[in-house]
Subunit: 271 residues, 2 copies
């Protein structure tokens, strides 16, 4: 499979850890991408540390893990890094106790987190949990100086019966009410990538992100100081190549197999 190279990138890669997007890279819909499972095995055998990065804010890591397993991907649950994982990491580092405005399905992810006497607001896509009372409680904490940690800032998503409000509108509501700026910890925010890179044990410059979304995956990772590869599977669109060509530390490849080939090739060239 030919590797596509853009600009200088590809000749001087230096990779010590890999972040993989899930949807569109390992699978599309419910179907594994052809060759992805084998490519993933090859990448794991190389010994490079890997984290699996997803923005899901309504599923626990256990649920994501079970879904991947059902498609034949054998990975460690602890290697899955979600927006909630990034929030957990930030809470731990900053010594914060959250007031949780999140989806009920996500509550197990925070079961062991201290929430007494909260001094931070964590907002996910709480769905029906977005009541006036709950938003007001969050607002009052923000007015008392609690930081606002958001698992994303998307405007809406598609449900079976139509479009529905995502996290973003509620983040905007609380930001406007309390006169604060949220710390967004989902892709494409830097906090999401940096939290996962910390687990890889290398610097952002030594880590590479592989994803199918030019804005959320590639541009987000590059803005966080990482290298990145865009795959032509998933939500790849015509014209994405041109955007990638502008970026010194990013390239485009056909699929995960090609990405792994390129990453391992770069390592093998290191003396």
């Amino acid at each position: 499979m030919p590797l596509v190279s853009h600009g200088r990138y590809g000749r001087d890669m230096d990779v010590k850890g890999v972040l993989l997007d899930l949807s569109g890279v390992l699978y599309v819909g419910d179907e594994p991408v052809p060759g992805a499972s084998k490519a993933l095995d090859r990448l794991r055998d190389s010994g490079l540390p890997i984290r699996y990065l997803t923005n899901t804010t309504r599923r626990t890591r256990a649920a994501v893990h079970a879904s991947l397993a059902s498609m034949g991907f054998e990975i460690d649950e602890g290697d899955i890094f979600t927006a909630p994982s990034a929030v957990r990491a930030h809470l731990r580092t900053a010594g914060l106790r959250p007031w949780l405005l999140i989806h009920p399905a996500l509550e197990p992810e925070f079961a062991d987190v201290e929430t007494q006497d909260p001094n931070a607001v964590v907002i996910g896509d709480a769905g029906d949990g977005f009541t006036y009372h709950a938003l007001n409680e969050a607002f009052r904490l923000l007015m008392d100086g609690a930081p606002l940690l958001a698992m994303g800032d998307n405007r809406f998503f598609r449900e079976a019966d139509g479009l529905s409000l995502d996290i973003g509108p509620f983040v905007k509501a609380l930001e406007f009410a309390a006169g604060v700026d949220a710390l967004v910890l989902g892709k494409p925010a830097a906090g999401m990538f940096l939290g996962a890179v910390e687990e890889l044990g290398c610097s952002p410059e030594e880590a590479i992100m592989v994803g199918d979304d030019v804005a959320s995956d590639v541009e987000g990772a590059v803005a966080a100081g990482m290298q990145a590869l865009l795959v032509r599977t998933g939500k790849f669109q015509a014209g994405d190549d041109d955007r990638i060509a502008e970026i010194e530390t990013a390239g485009v490849v056909d699929d995960l197999a090609a990405a792994v080939e390129r990453i391992l090739g770069s390592i093998e060239r290191v003396p």
Copy 2:
């Protein structure tokens, strides 16, 4: 009582209709402003058309009227112009059928409005009515092209047990989600003043607003093309004089009695 004049304003007033703010002008808290009732009688006897302008979004005009009557102010309920009145006027003019996201106490105000097959979203401070489901319904209508009519855009207000979210945050949420701009129809938005001026039957330039809030009442009215007087009762603060001095068509007076004196004096000078 001496009249304070700023700049050129006051020597060339031309008033054919009057808008009066309620709280801070007619009363402060539950107490009538001394002399306000008598001054109001004098203004009404002059024959100038009057509308009473209030931003309340949780009380019907009937409730506002009853409260004024209990303090000794005898006015016609039909002369009270609230943010909901402005919304009603706009719906009528534009031929719109609203989907109502408002406080239950306000529902009687819209009892006779056609709401089948809605093609507009009206948002007030719905309080507990701000559920995820209701906001989603509003969002979907906006995505179908319905305009967003807001009764205000304040950030928060004070309740007995603390600060609470006002309309503004929910307006911002829907604006961000649907990528639209709301038409705000409460003070200080021009739509509120112009709706009331239309009932006065004169042009904005011929109408004068009397209020105690330099931003919401005076600057808002002037931006809508009106003249304005700031009273030193209610929420008047040191420094407000300086802001008024910058405005060619606004002045400052001690209270409603002084405002009426000045307005009627200007009329009597007209040949």
